[in-house]
Symmetry: C2
Subunit: 356 residues, 2 copies
């Protein structure tokens, strides 16, 4: 599988001579970053002349406070991608089960660690839910399991009870479970679904989280993982020093303090998610899947993702063609949930090109 | 060997109730960062809401221009440490020769890659120069060689001709050579010593450089490596995406454009290096080694590094006790070259405590 991520806006603008582009291919909080976080970065710019705190002391304490856990259960990373690769490296050349389609980096991280990725196929007939039986059977063959919850690109949320059963079975089989909750902050009633509190107690579970999506600071690179203190120590031992830059640490601390922004994001996302999903459901020729996060996965009944993408780009709209995801083809696209005006603009052209 | 790096200023300030601390343990350009680089970061802060360019296109072009090489010979990293670890990972479980004392991360990177570090001891009787014979003999036993030039903590610069002979011999023995030139920008007549141009042509050489020391942006994390296009491609294949944050890329591009700052740094460092070395040479009880970079390595004839450090910290001066470096003991310290006033302050207390 090749690494294909969001589009290069600058190149596309130049190529099509566009003034404005709305990037529905990028799943970032449409409200942008927290102004408190931004201000802290601005005020702390002088810090770039000092080494960052390798231990991320203040940020760990702030996160511990935010999640009601102990700072010793947390490790910070240069984006969650660093931690995906670090965990894979520490697990070594393991066979790893990856229910797919999903985020490509799990597979690439396993390969980079000379491990062997194995796949359980998420099926449309199961509404892209985990097939528990298949996963449990798959555990016999592997040493690790990588999950994305809610899953990118399908937007599907896995029930906590199912996951707990899988983790329990995995423990008996000495299988390590890594759950990437990069989009969990967008989920309504997050606490009912997140396994972050469990990760501090269970001996075979890591939960990965990110500041990239919800807090909208992909450019600064900031992610973290939660696990038992024993597991966290093991990771820290293998981690390079100073991977988290000073400004990312500042942004993290003060974004977490920005309750108003966090609340507003949740409300706006919920409202626009419902609006966009309902409107998309009414367009003939497509089938949107119920979204749990801040993006919507869509099946094209007769159109072709590449053709549709090409038509939309001329209108300044970028969507994600999902054919680069394992087990998907050019019948699937993904769109981020944006502000109301942008969502209306997308709907206008989807209606125009698809509702025939 | 344990990882011991510079001191934590904040903790020390609180512990000793100090108003000001001059940190001679940290080898950063005492002029601070480039104002052009800083301004670019400030102006570009909005970029944190977008993913960084994984390819670092503009920065690569700027570096290529700066060094008169092809952008395809460059790979960027989240600090040079990322590249030290990445190269070690790609070389795999190799035996690696590391002339020591030197920067601890080479050894730790080799160990993290499940390789075996081996050591050639740099000797005081050789003025801590490379013993070419010993190194050449050592090449028979290993698959890689890590060098720091000028070397930290000794400040010694290795002659280009010696290094070229070693690289040539290494090639015949299928040994890979990695030269970390993190402090090369401070060297007078840098072009006579740097192997960066050679790295684009030779098939078994990587040269690593850093923005941390000369450009004084350790908090942003920015380093790079230069090698043949074939080698660079190999590294890129194993590199995680988005490791270099957007602001580091901005700072890099515009710091390189700041000719005045670069010129001024070179002049000031040269002047203060000569001043401090001459004054240190006159203090009885210590022996400073001729410095090539922006720090001075000092042997204590009778004092003890820990005691001296404890005395100085009460005056608000932090020095580096070198006893954590392999093959060194508590008879060695390292001090950074700072601005004139600070250097005078250091000299005052070294004279007071040592010149007896």
């Amino acid at each position: 599988m090749k690494r294909v991520h969001g589009g290069n806006i600058r190149e596309i603008k130049e190529k099509y001579n566009l003034k404005k582009i709305i990037d529905f291919s990028s799943n970032i909080n449409f409200l942008g970053f927290s102004t408190k976080g931004f201000q802290a970065v601005k005020d702390g710019l002088n810090e770039i002349q000092f080494y960052p705190d390798s231990d991320c002391k203040y940020l760990k304490e702030e996160l511990a406070n935010y999640h009601h856990i102990d700072p010793r259960n947390i490790i910070l990373g240069n984006g969650s991608v660093e931690l995906i690769y670090l965990i894979s490296k520490v697990l070594g050349s393991s066979k790893t089960l990856i229910p797919s389609p999903t985020f490509i980096e799990y597979e690439l991280a396993v390969l980079a660690a000379k491990g062997k990725p194995q796949f359980v196929r998420l099926l449309e007939k199961d509404h892209f839910q985990l097939n528990k039986k298949e996963v449990l059977r798959g555990l016999d063959e592997v040493q690790a399991l990588f999950l994305n919850n809610p899953n990118n690109p399908t937007g599907i949320l896995y029930p906590k009870q199912d996951l707990l059963k899988i983790i329990q079975a995995a423990k008996k089989k000495k299988v390590f479970v890594i759950i990437d909750e990069a989009f969990m902050d967008f989920v309504e009633d997050e606490d009912r679904f997140s396994l972050l509190p469990q990760a501090t107690r269970l001996s075979n579970l890591f939960v990965i989280r990110s500041f990239t999506k919800f807090f909208a600071i992909p450019g600064l690179r900031l992610g973290y993982a939660v696990g038992s203190q024993r597991l966290i120590k093991m990771l820290v031992k293998f981690q390079e020093p100073w991977t988290v830059n000073s400004l990312a640490q500042k942004a993290g601390v003060f974004s977490l303090k920005d309750n108003k922004y966090i609340q507003k994001t949740r409300e706006f996302i919920k409202k626009e998610r419902n609006f966009l999903f309902n409107k998309l459901s009414k367009i003939k020729g497509i089938k949107p899947f119920p979204p749990a996060a801040n993006f919507i996965f869509i099946k094209l009944m007769s159109a072709n993702a590449e053709d549709l993408k090409a038509k939309l780009v001329k209108q300044g709209i970028i969507i994600r063609n999902c054919s680069s995801f394992r087990f998907l083809n050019n019948k699937y696209i993904r769109v981020a949930i944006k502000k109301h005006k942008d969502n209306l603009y997308l709907l206008k052209f989807l209606n125009k090109y698809l509702d025939q």
